[in-house]
């Protein structure tokens, strides 16, 4: 009987390697609670900032079918103080919740992380990679000395692990990961900058014009970055980007990811995608004779 549980280097224990990715069904506490009850092993919250933000006006998504989804939701969030109530509801599921946070300065990240820890988050995930909001996300993530300072100050203050979610929209993602060497791990990858024009309206569809691409089209990009960063830094990695089935998850893990996140696949399969992928990983392990997830992690590395 294969064992799907995972113990991350940071000590977090997961019943399976499947985590809900930030930005998908994770703003409302009741939504997180339900998706955890329906099969996700853990959930990353929507990225939360200091202040309430309404985000962009719809259209905020473009459904590109088999390619994936283009989005520019615009970091909508109720602000860290109001998020406390949602965390209380979400934690009723009894599974780990990772608080995603975004900010512009060391002090903002520190305030947010300290609050997430006090709310009961099992870890924080730093959004250093949102591709479509000025002053935060990738703009912070591409300032490596600032990233080092943020992580160093968080590690001094927090007792929960710190993960950094990195952007694929950088010239050198390995360098970006090295700037995070004091973190407990990196999450790869966020969405890829993209846009979509309606040829009958002769206009970009997203109200923000530019957005981020997720889904099946970006999976090979994610697999390559996970593999490369693992090989060159040895850091713990959580893989994310276009995972729709057990094989996709195993591919990321063989590239070096200790666990994976699922987001866009919820569009195609609904919340039950977590149970579906869990079953597919289980069958693969049985068929191929793996008894533990750790035997798969990094299997494709030299």
């Amino acid at each position: 009987m294969p064992d799907l549980s995972v113990r991350l280097a940071s000590g977090i224990i997961l019943e399976s390697p499947l985590i809900l990715a930030s930005g998908i069904l994770d703003e409302n506490g009741y939504s997180i609670k339900r998706i955890l009850q329906e099969g996700a092993a853990a959930a990353v919250t929507k990225s939360i900032g200091i202040q309430e933000r309404a985000g962009y006006k719809p259209p905020v998504v473009v459904d590109l079918g088999d390619t994936g989804i283009l989005n520019a939701v615009g970091l909508s969030n109720p602000g860290i103080d109001d998020y406390h109530n949602e965390m209380k509801i979400a934690l009723q599921a009894g599974k780990p919740i990772i608080g995603s946070i975004f900010g512009a300065t060391v002090d903002e990240f520190l305030q947010l992380a300290v609050k997430m820890e006090s709310y009961g988050a099992s870890a924080v995930e730093l959004n250093l990679s949102c591709p479509h909001v000025k002053g935060v996300g990738t703009e912070v993530g591409s300032d490596f000395p600032l990233v080092e300072e943020i992580i160093a100050s968080l590690k001094r203050r927090l007792s929960i692990p710190v993960y950094a979610k990195l952007s694929p929209n950088l010239t050198d993602v390995v360098e970006a990961a090295r700037a995070c060497s004091k973190a407990d791990g990196v999450v790869l990858i966020n969405t890829i900058r993209a846009m979509s024009i309606d040829i009958h309206a002769k206009k970009p569809v997203l109200s923000n014009y530019y957005g981020g691409l997720s889904g099946p089209a970006i999976r090979p990009v994610g697999v390559r970055l996970v593999y490369q960063v693992k090989r060159e830094t040895g850091m713990e990695i959580i893989g994310v980007g276009g995972i729709e089935n057990g094989g996709d998850a195993i591919e990321y893990m063989m590239a070096g990811a200790s666990a994976v996140q699922i987001g866009t696949a919820v569009r195609k399969y609904g919340r039950s995608v977590f149970m579906k992928i869990k079953d597919e990983i289980h069958s693969f392990m049985e068929r191929e004779g793996y008894s533990r997830i750790e035997d798969i992690v990094g299997a494709a590395l030299p």
Partner: protein, 249 residues
């Protein structure tokens, strides 16, 4: 994104229009589409006419709905869908209870035997009252300018619920909560079409979620029993930011 040319616009009163357009796609009663006005915005709208030409009925309340109300014949209309779980249609006798523009999603449910309770602020806001013969409907207005003076739930004491096989309800959430509170202890079979702020329409962004279910995908129609488990129903909702605010008086 799909598009079609507007064939006909029927202006009902100052701020409501029925827009008809050809779209060869099967749409079921209770489903909705996301309608896009380039450079203005995108909003969810119930399909009020599911035959061909298809139709949507829209009241102006923000920039996108305003632009739609003012759309003209021959203009292009952009949309995606259909989305959502349709109403489950029972063959027997139906009672529909609609308030304001909530009547738009109930229109396709009406057959020759259906009884209607139609509520609105005032006589001029009553929508699709003429879809019923006078002996098969009750009108309710806040100001008493037509029918019963009061709110939709006040009309329920005037009908014998036992003669209906299914009740279909759509309107503002506090109106639906009062109907739910009336029907639930009586064990009446009912379906509700809920409305919440919605952004993506495809079950990802979490704007329209209630009780962990996504209105755009698991709903917008729900059986009365499903509402039992929704702690947020009639109590709280979230703003565009996701900030939770309480509802009601």
């Amino acid at each position: 994104m799909m598009h079609s040319s507007v064939e006909r616009v029927e202006r009902l009163n100052g701020d409501t229009s029925i827009i008809r357009f050809t779209w060869n796609e099967a749409v079921k009663p209770g489903q909705f589409i996301m309608v896009w006005i380039p450079e203005v915005g995108e909003i969810p709208i119930s399909v009020s006419h599911v035959g061909n030409p298809k139709g949507i009925t829209i009241k102006a309340y923000g920039p996108t709905s305003r632009a739609l109300v003012d759309i003209r014949e021959g203009d292009r209309i952009f949309f995606r869908g259909p989305y959502g779980r349709p109403f489950f249609l029972v063959p027997g006798r139906r009672l529909i209870i609609g308030a304001g523009t909530g009547m738009a999603s109930l229109l396709p449910v009406i057959d020759s035997k259906t009884f209607g309770i139609i509520a609105a602020r005032s006589k001029k806001d009553l929508l699709f009252a003429d879809a019923f013969d006078e002996q098969r409907r009750l009108l309710v207005t806040d100001d008493g300018s037509a029918g019963i003076k009061g709110i939709a739930v006040d009309a329920l004491t005037h009908v014998d619920l036992n003669q209906f096989d299914m009740v279909y309800v759509c309107g503002p959430e506090m109106m639906m909560k009062s109907i739910y509170d009336f029907l639930r202890p009586r064990g009446t079979s009912a379906q509700f079409s809920l409305e919440r702020l919605m952004k993506c329409g495809i079950g990802l962004c979490d704007s329209c979620s209630i009780g962990g279910l996504q209105l755009c995908r698991d709903g917008p129609t729900f059986d009365i029993k499903e509402l039992d488990t929704m702690e947020e129903f009639g109590r709280s909702r979230v703003l565009e930011s996701g900030k939770r605010i309480s509802m009601g008086k």
